[in-house]
Symmetry: C2
Subunit: 271 residues, 2 copies
Amino acid sequence: MKVLSVVFISLMLIACNTPQKEITDSNVTAQNHADVMKQVFDTPKYAIKSIGILVYDGVNSMDFIGPRYVFSSSGVKPQLIGLKPGKVKTANGLEFVVNTVIDSVQKLDVLVIPGGTIATIKAAQNRRLLNWIKKIDKNSIYTTSVCTGGWILGATGLLQGKKASTNWYREEEILTKFGAIPANERYTKDGKYWTSAGVTAGMDMSLAIVADNFGKNYAQAIMLDMEYDAQPPIEGGSPEKTDKKVYQMMELMYEAMITPAIDSLKIINLK
Amino acid sequence: MKVLSVVFISLMLIACNTPQKEITDSNVTAQNHADVMKQVFDTPKYAIKSIGILVYDGVNSMDFIGPRYVFSSSGVKPQLIGLKPGKVKTANGLEFVVNTVIDSVQKLDVLVIPGGTIATIKAAQNRRLLNWIKKIDKNSIYTTSVCTGGWILGATGLLQGKKASTNWYREEEILTKFGAIPANERYTKDGKYWTSAGVTAGMDMSLAIVADNFGKNYAQAIMLDMEYDAQPPIEGGSPEKTDKKVYQMMELMYEAMITPAIDSLKIINLK
């Protein structure tokens, strides 16, 4: 379901001013919900007031929808930030509407950079975008990337000397190009920089950020709301857990799709 | 990344007419990709030609984006089917564009019905929608629901006597209202009816359907593409795995949000 975003946003405001009562099943009101929340949740580490998720034509839908879903329950509505106003089309053809554009956003507490394929390589060479990311990063509390979004973040130079993770395909080689230290993890934290492996790893990273800032109970509440207790029908989801023939086929496919464009990835010299 | 949808759709067509060669790393072309795919994938059980995902204002974003993502890699582009043309807004405010509307769709091989909260209860009383679902179900190969989408499917009467699963909140009571047999599983298959638990369970169910129809290697290829090897930062995601205080708080929240509307759920007498 998705009651959490609505309830949290409204109740986080109430929560500050109400006395505590014990949790009971009876007579639930917005008022005693707020009491309940005070008993269950820690005080946040940082007061997060703005969360922005970069989007662009060709972005991977799950890369940004997963984090958007998790952060929607954090009491702040995440903004989808485009390069231009209006509609954006994902890599697999979902058309959606951005909330704002990069030129209108001067500051974010949390920045999420999702990935894609060819469009992501193009974004990793867009100086206007990369300069904007560097500007936002100056005052951010969390600067993050999901999947090949790490290629964009890497191109800014901000991952130099930092441990990082990204999509499995040519992971080590690409992170090394950006001066990052390949961690080969589901998600990696190095200071305020959080970078995740491919696609669904963005949900795990976002939950970890929620746990980091709002405490474990908060993350667990969101996990229950999204029933995030994965039970796929078969083992898989990483190169190690995938049948060798299947893995090889996927590697060949990726290669055909993004070679030679991928070879152009590098830190872009920004002024 | 998201190369799979594009590559699969184009290569599935080529695959039928090419001789097999052994998998090698060298000289990758669309042609030998097709050969590779023939070696790796089984022949599908059914030739699936149309996949439709119902969407409506107030739908849960992850409920439909997860299945859409998985099925986008199955060689058929899933259609987002609205009650009206144009934009739809999810429960957490994502605005996106539908591909078509229920009145224009007479037949689907796969139907996915995602959930939400109040909007879903309303949809479960919309006779025009319920009649459409029954019509589609007559010729479907898979009729499925995600999360509280099971409330809509249940309201058509199609789950009578069937094992089913849905979102954890008052699961047993609600499924019983629809004459279904509560299975309390991550996802449940009863004949052609597949019903999943909340939100992210829709991904597991969709992968299981892919495995059922296209074979395990196909599902594993998609899982690698979406790096679906969940590693959340803490245990959780089901009532049983959630701290009692957190669970109780969430139950109270759900109760405040959807009571008494939820009491109106029942099989709607359709003509």
